[in-house]
Amino acid sequence: MNDMSPIKASQNSDRETGLLNLSRRRFLGVSAGALVLGVALPSGAGRALAQAAAPAIEAGTRVNAYIEIRPDSSVLFRSAFIEGGQGIFTAMAQIVGEELDVDPARFVVEAAPPGPDYLLIGGFRFTGGSMSVRMSYEKMRKLGASARLMVLQAAAARMNVPVSELTTEPGRVLHAASGRALSYGELAQQAAALAVPADAPLRAKSDFRWIGKPLARLDVRDKSTGKAQYAIDLRVDGMLHAAVQHARHLGAEPQAITNEAQVLAMPGVHSVHRLPGAVGVVADSWWRARRAAESLQVTWTAAAQGTKGAMPEDYSTERHRDGLKAMTGDGLEAEVSGDATKALAGAKTVIEATYDAPHLAHAQLEPPSALARWNEDGTLELWAPNQAPEMFQAAAAKVAGIDPSKVIIHSPLLGGFFGRHFLYASANPFPQAILLSKAVGKPIKLVWSREEEFLRDALRPMAVARFRAGLDEKGMPVALSAVAVGEGATGRWFGRQPDKVDSSAVEGIVEKLYAIPNRRVGHIHVDDPAVIGFWRSVGHSMNDFFYETFFDEMADAGKQDPYELRHRLLSESPRQQTLLEAVADLSGGWRRGPYQADDGTRRARGVAMASPFGSEVATIAEVSLRGEEAVVHQVWVAVDPGSIVNPAIVEAQINSAVAIGLSIALMEEVVYEEGVPRARNYDGYPILPPDRMPKVHVRIIESGAPMGGIGEPGVPGVPPAVVNALAVLTGKRVRSLPLSRASLTGSI
């Protein structure tokens, strides 16, 4: 269970080819059509999925797997995607309700169990990569339309009239000729028994009543009155509570517990258990379990030499950063166009700069937990926060030593995720809950304290990028060379091929649209000693900062306005150029500053572009200095996701992305010293507090391009926009985040 090795590639899986190209999740250089997730799944998950997929069930087509029309004509909908604040349950209700002809407000949405019907992401299932709506939109529309046709067919049989004489209005079938009507609820049973029709007609876009409208979210009232239940809130009969004390250094194992007898005598304590890499205490309440777990005096054996994934006892982030910065060479080629070396040699001016970004914690507000119950029929029931039920099912089966079909996974609402709840060996509490529940023969709810969470979270990797740019005599960039250094989360968890660049390590530096004729992007892989994972906007969360901030350095070196230079270099990319103009317009016209605001502060603005997860984003930030502290007053974001389902949710997600983007620009970093993170709670790892939240202005542009993501794309543009504005105020370039580490003085 404490297996810290990466999820193994099953190289011969027949899922490896022919699946969809997962855009930003793919490895660069993998031959067309190959799929990273195909090389990816743990063999257990692969088997579970293969079994599940056996008799040619086409995901997203079987109406009854998703839709249950209840007697009162409301709809119970099982979502393939997990709700964690991004609004996916509401979006699903809008999409399906539109075609089914049921008001989305009459939907109750819950997370679907594991199963072949829900593998909507190219034969797999996860909630992430800002993919949920864009990967399922057409299928979910068809599903709703098929369900409506089934209801119509049931009504036709009941009324003894042809389907062509029937129409629907929300929740009802009407027969205009006879004035008869039947509710969906009355027809539900009969409809559910029918075969799914192949050719249900879709509504014309011009007739949409709910898709594209700012509908109220389905979960808001429950979440405003404390009724929403998260994994941490669940309780089953006979359940005991558990807390753990982890080894300070990942890879160490418990050896002796010197005060076990005293701890066992503490009030409410049921038992003490040695677990892989941890010691657990079971008690009648969590507080008692936690107190006991913290009181345990445990000696730990150091990880055996060469233990994969073990945290070196002398690890320091500072030293790791220095190591990344010291790497020389051009690295594996990730992207090339023209001849950057030659163009640099012939350039009038050459500038260079090295950037870095720290490890980050997810810091979602709900600490991880898991509730495990062994049932009498030999099944294991598990409630656990997760973004990928089938993968958790397979992993849980392995821990429990039973067949995946015997693991019943529930996927509760997530109290924030941002990438936290993927399957990361050593970062998920459910294996411990399974073992504890088995040991005590009772259901166990295990909660990780905030401190244990900060000790075992899977971090956003640390990274460094070195840039060189060549400018011609007019100050126009003619060459750009970038070398990114570090490790990508995709490679860590889905198998890295040493001769291939992991796209998650370079996304945001590659595929930039600026017309710079000679470009080369390289990557140098360096193992990150920390457990790394996916963090909201993944590689973009740092790489767009690196690139877009260096872009302003190029502009300054060439004596060009950074907005104008972007605009010029995007003249062949009308979608992005329009977006840039839109964000300028939204902000009242581009002005870099510095200028004096009405309140007397001296302000400046910075701009940044990003192309994350199939969407396009342009961001402007307005900043001033208060003493040595950056104050961000306003952020304007123009976003083009192609087309959208709910503008209110998009706007909320952009607000959320600005908050987290600003938080990482200003204050977030995980610091390890001697193999241990310095911060174990929010006091040492501050996240953006309310008084530092800027005003956020959003403009959504639906260009009609293929649908892009929404949850993550707002993040990457914020740090560079802020740092670019700061450079105007201070005359100095900050090349390392967070800003709280930099000395900021208004020197110009």
Binding site: G85, V220, S224, L365, P367, A652
Partner: protein, 148 residues
């Protein structure tokens, strides 16, 4: 020990230094009040004690015997609380929602003490963390709730 929670009296037999949060959540099953940090950092555990916003994770039960404790479960039984909840719904404040019990309680306490809060009052009272960044929506909702 005798605790009055949401108008009901409860007899609780547990160590007197147990934080109120865990008595609410584990002993009484009132899980609307959330655990975020346990260290008075985030405010997810905010409840009202005699009308004051209080962080239950660092409030030993021995210190609240004889007080009126109100949790999110009773929010709509309170006039200010109802207004706050309606404003939260109107402004579609929650995202993941995990911090929102605490936010609603903090806003309710503010309006009880300061029915007409200034922007400064709002900023001073609404200090709970939200990782989803719903701060602007929270401020708008508080303004609306204060206007009635």
């Amino acid at each position: 020990m005798q605790l009055t929670i949401n108008g009901q009296s409860h007899q609780v037999e547990i160590e007197p230094d147990t934080p109120l949060l865990w008595v609410l959540r584990d002993t009484l099953g009132l899980t609307g009040t959330k655990y975020g940090c346990g260290l008075a950092q985030c405010g997810a555990c905010t409840v009202l004690i005699d009308g004051q916003a209080t962080r239950a994770c660092v409030t030993p039960i021995e210190s609240v015997a004889g007080t009126e404790i109100v949790t999110i479960e009773a929010i709509t039984g309170d006039a200010e609380g109802r207004r706050v909840v309606e404003a939260w719904v109107d402004h579609q404040v929650p995202q993941c929602g995990y911090c929102q019990s605490g936010q609603v309680m903090a806003a309710t306490a503010l309006l009880k003490q300061t029915p007409q809060p200034t922007e400064e009052d709002i900023a001073a009272a609404m200090i709970n963390l939200c990782r989803c960044g719903t701060y602007n929506a929270i401020a708008s909702a508080v303004r609306q709730a204060a206007k009635v």
